[in-house]
């Protein structure tokens, strides 16, 4: 997992609960906790930190991960505005994840385990995202999509009928534009 994810998680936790909470989380997870955005760290390390956050906040894991997704989008968009600037709307942005954003990530790092994401539009108001990853972070993906929708100022609803957590080999995230 790219270090920037760890950095953003730290930002979120310190924002909500201060340095104290972050230190508690690190101690609970049993990690040293110095992360730079340009390095890559083990997925397990992230999962133990997230587990510690869930324990510390006493909120269900799905909620924590979803909220992190929303927060993470905002942070990534401000660190790398070029990607949101070059996509004029939410669906175009989602379609650019695999072909543009992840391509740029691969240029910078040789060892990245990025999820495989492909999008298909079905009509004007529906986009279906095929998400595949051994890490099964589909809930994080959902959070990121909600964050993106907020950035582009549109209301959405995500249905998740096919899920790797239910034994499928991929997740189908059906993103529908609402009239909000």
């Amino acid at each position: 997992m790219k270090g920037v994810v760890f950095n953003i998680l730290e930002d979120m936790v310190t924002e909500k609960g201060g340095l104290q909470m972050w230190q508690k989380v690190l101690d609970k997870a049993g990690v040293d906790g110095g992360y730079t955005a340009v390095s890559t760290y083990s997925d397990d390390e992230l999962f133990s930190i997230v587990g510690a956050v869930v324990e510390e906040l006493g909120i269900p894991a799905e909620e924590v991960i979803g909220a992190f997704g929303v927060y993470m989008f905002g942070q990534l968009a401000s660190r790398y505005p070029v990607f949101t600037d070059s996509a004029s709307d939410l669906f175009t942005f989602l379609e650019s994840i695999d072909s543009v954003i992840h391509l740029e990530v691969k240029k910078l790092m040789t060892e990245t385990n990025l999820p495989s994401i492909s999008c298909t539009r079905e009509g004007e108001k529906l986009l279906v995202m095929d998400y595949r990853s051994p890490r099964k972070l589909c809930l994080l993906a959902e959070g990121l999509i909600y964050g993106a929708a907020e950035h582009y100022g549109c209301g959405i609803k995500i249905d998740h009928p096919i899920c790797m957590h239910k034994g499928a080999d991929h997740c189908d995230l059906q993103v529908s534009l609402t009239d909000e």
Partner: protein, 322 residues
């Protein structure tokens, strides 16, 4: 917050900002490196493609030069093969008649056979068959030799003209040199002495078609250098040590000045008049030798002659990636 904690917080914030800034520098530099690398890879591919075209063009130019000479080489044996077959055709009828006469004579009763034999003898004399009978074995062997020579010239030409140059195999360079010399027989004027001192060489891992091109180039240049020289000699010698093989091609021709010697491997440099020679032969030869992990050295004295020494590692080197 206590003063000390506040100090630490502010220090933490500063460090954080500095770290993020450093990360951005790293990312920017990495992206620039990636793009530069891509451009370099594209340029390299382009250069390699262009080089391939140049080498091929040079080969074609060389082939053009050889073509006239080779046509002459093939024409000579074909001329006497043709003449021999014409002779054979001329004598076919008398031979057939003779066989007929013999067959008929054998059917005759004994008392008439003597007369028939006398007729046959007369016929043999009048149609010169005795003479032709003596000539026939030589005629046939000459014809065979002539055709064999043509076959060899065509085989040599085929070997030379093969376009796939990437494959490197262990080959006998002396055999390659000898086949190249055969192709050049017609290029050298009849009064040019070609002196061969070809010691056996260990097999060398190389692309023989590329190296043949190098030898051909040097030999043709040597031939041009000795034009107009009395006692013109072009020599080719081979020797080896534990690690390398050495091929020396020398001549007693016009030689080169220091200034010319310095430029000889530069692309498009030529001392030949406009329209003669592409000026690429030596630079391509140089490139081929270097590609094989070898070296090419030149010694020359103006008015006296030149010597080119090619040294190649026996182990060979990896062929360039396509």
């Amino acid at each position: 917050m206590s003063d000390e904690a506040d100090l630490y917080r502010r220090a933490y914030e500063r460090e954080r900002v500095a770290r993020i800034s450093a990360e951005q520098v790293v990312e920017k530099t990495t992206r620039e490196l990636y793009l530069k690398n891509q451009k370099l890879e594209e340029s390299l591919k382009q250069l390699k493609d262009q080089q391939r075209v140049l080498v091929q063009n040079e080969k074609l130019a060389m082939l053009g030069t050889l073509a006239a000479g080779i046509a002459h080489e093939i024409n000579n044996p074909m001329a006497f093969v043709h003449a021999n077959l014409e002779s054979l055709a001329d004598y076919l009828e008398p031979y057939q008649k003779l066989v007929e006469m013999q067959a008929k004579a054998l059917e005759l009763p004994l008392e008439q056979q003597r007369e028939a034999q006398q007729e046959i003898q007369k016929f043999i004399k009048s149609s010169d068959l005795e003479f032709f009978q003596d000539e026939l074995p030589e005629l046939m062997s000459d014809t065979r030799d002539g055709l064999e020579r043509v076959r060899e010239i065509v085989a040599n030409l085929r070997t030379f003209a093969r376009t796939h140059t990437q494959e490197r195999r262990s080959v006998d360079l002396v055999a390659g040199i000898q086949s190249t010399l055969k192709l050049l027989n017609s290029q050298f004027r009849t009064d040019v002495i070609v002196h061969q001192s070809l010691q056996p060489l260990p097999l060398v891992k190389c692309s023989i078609s590329e190296l043949n091109q190098v030898f051909l180039n040097l030999l043709v240049n040597a031939g041009h250098a000795v034009e107009g020289r009395k006692g013109a000699t072009v020599s080719i010698a081979t020797r080896s040590d534990n690690e390398r093989v050495y091929i020396e091609i020398s001549d007693n021709g016009c030689g080169m000045s220091e200034a010319v010697k310095e430029q000889i491997f530069v692309p498009f440099f030529t001392t030949k008049p406009v329209g003669k020679g592409t000026g690429m032969g030596m630079s391509i030869a140089y490139g081929i030798v270097v590609d094989h992990g070898g070296e090419i050295e030149v010694e020359s004295t103006e008015g006296e002659g030149s010597r080119f020494t090619i040294s190649l590692p026996i182990e060979g080197s990896e062929s360039p990636i396509a």
